[in-house]
Symmetry: C2
Subunit: 350 residues, 2 copies
DNA sequence: CTGAAAGCGCTTACAG
DNA sequence: CTGAAAGCGCTTACAG
């Protein structure tokens, strides 16, 4: 019964060749027909489709990646997943990519540029079709890797860094989807000013790039009013948490009792601050207004409900993925920067 | 200058063949030496290592997957990422897998068995080396896929379903790492009983399998005391949230004022309940005790701090990944079920 | 312990 | 619009 000795490793998998045989065409034609490549007779396409469906054919991603030197995977780099912001971002991006047949390879950088570079280096070995990367701040090595790989890439959360020339920028492929962190912070500050607050503190943790952009937005707005002073800045490089927010609130109250509003850089800090206010029996917003940033789950539940900025992270994830898909199809994508805006959510804490 | 006509597609990538040439051995020997396969002269291994390092050689995952029919990717299926529980689980598993050279392909099932099956079907096309799957409850199709794929798999969070015969079970490869959800719930209930509570309500959302196991643990413990009655069960199939917890608390207070303790199935429900208690000016724990489950971030910050069960999810992720790695190396792993336990965290809310 | 041959299942690049 | 040939970069299975 021994057949051809040339088949020691039959896998049983239905291959392109099987479909080609069934449809009576060459494998290349099947490949082209199934990928929807131009220049295939519509009648043939239909015939191939039927055969493929009949045989239950599914392309082998590994073979495809090896032959084409491009996989069906997209790398998504986020700082962490313990902030719901990035979970929403990731889920939206992944959903969009998956619908288009791409898998997501998630890398968590922990706000560490060196770790980001290492992750990227590892993941690039898999020849991802595209990249989605949080922010603009990367190590020299990361930037070189990105440039050398020539893989389509969309940056998330922020707009093009100021001073790069905007639409006329010459750097190829510097696409991004986000909003102006500084503008959003300025708008929130503006809201507090309009409510009559004059001594507005800024309290932040982590001190990542977007935090510093918000700091800048707050600072510039206050400076315009002649109300800024360094003593109003409360910056702590440790990770953001409710406990830290509570500590900061207590310190600000005791060390700067004249402060009449506190802008917390992230909602979790504000949540902790509001609980601390209850403990210390400080009236919010009567004695001091408290606002946050991001509109995380629970911010409508706090006592009092929290005024904050709603960041459209799901929208960012979705739109960034769509732009990446367009780039992968070779379509022109302009302008490079997409501003999805933000929304001020005024509740009772301010 | 035209060289061999047999190289229309040189990629510039350093390949096994390059290393083999440099080391003066055959490509197969390089392959074996680099993978640490038995039966290679240690001196040759060293020589190959040096050449590989010198040339900056990194294996091509696609070629490897195609030839070996097994990738360096592990699929991890979790219900969602908006519960910090699963983020911790995922991060720990991913960290362990990454250190061993595996990438993680995350699938989010949204507690939907059909979606889980569809996801698995898609991800299986990538010939993952292994699988990490939350829970034991899967569709018929999922179970068939798992069995047919013959890919090593470790289930997360729960112990072997009761009644399957324990260690002597014949089903091959049914590995798991977790703890007894029912026991943990019973222990928490026991704590409330010891505090003198007699009318202990159970309030839950989502109603996934683990929730129902906790319900059962609570129920059995109360039945043993003759204290169980159906009216104490408050079950809502909608997703868990702080807002829902607040609503449930208000309803329980108004419809069952005799209840002297409420066991919320997840901390986020309890967080919402505690805020509602503040609004309604209900004294916790004096008028009613409130406990949660999971010890999520913030549970030590609430007013009052929340009594809960700390679930060792990072440990589960790490250990499950380690077991999977052992299975991939072909090592025997016994017993099939690993119980990592849980920890009662008593704070002021009970 | 080492290797020559073949093949994994696709796509590229070149013809026609 | 279609195809024959070659190759992507690795590992399997068989010898020796």
């Amino acid at each position: 019964m021994s057949d051809s000795p040339l088949r020691p490793r039959a896998t049983g998998r239905t291959t392109l060749a099987d479909v080609a045989r069934d449809a009576g065409v060459s494998p290349i034609t099947v490949s082209r027909a199934l990928r929807g490549e131009r220049a295939v007779d519509p009648a043939l396409v239909e015939r191939v489709r039927l055969s493929a469906h009949k045989l239950g054919y599914v392309p082998d991603p590994a073979a495809r990646a090896l032959a084409s030197r491009r996989s069906s995977q997209v790398v998504v780099l986020v700082p962490l997943l313990s902030n719901q912001l990035f979970v929403d971002l990731l889920e939206a991006a992944q959903g969009t990519l998956r619908a288009a047949g791409y898998q997501t390879l998630v890398g968590i950088t922990h706000y560490d540029a060196a770790e980001e570079e290492q992750l990227l280096r590892e993941l690039l070995l898999h020849r991802p079709a595209g990249l989605l990367i949080t922010g603009w701040q990367h190590s020299q090595g990361t930037r070189q890797l990105l440039a050398a790989s020539e893989i389509p890439c969309v940056h998330l959360m922020e707009l093009e860094p100021a001073g790069t020339g905007g639409d006329t920028g010459t750097a190829p492929g510097r696409h991004c989807v986000g909003f102006s962190q500084a503008d959003a912070a300025a708008a929130l500050t503006e809201h507090l000013l309009q409510r009559g607050r004059r001594r507005i503190a800024f309290a932040a943790a982590q001190l990542d790039a977007r935090t510093l952009q918000r700091l800048e937005g707050w600072r510039l707005r206050l400076q315009r009013e002649g109300l800024h002073e360094p003593a109003l800045e409360w910056l702590d490089p440790s990770p953001s948490s409710m406990a830290l927010g509570g500590d900061m609130f207590a310190r600000i109250r005791s060390e700067a009792p004249e402060v009449d509003a506190i802008f917390f850089n992230n909602d979790d800090l504000a949540h902790g601050a509001l609980l601390q206010a209850l403990r210390l029996q400080v009236q919010v917003p009567q004695q001091v207004a408290v606002v946050g940033f991001n509109d995380l789950p629970g911010s409508d539940q706090t006592l009092p409900p929290l005024t904050t900025v709603r960041t459209p992270r799901a929208d960012i994830g979705r739109q960034a993925a769509q732009r990446l898909l367009a780039l992968l199809r070779g379509e022109p994508v302009t302008p490079r920067a997409l501003d999805v805006g933000y929304e001020l959510v005024v509740r009772a804490s301010s």
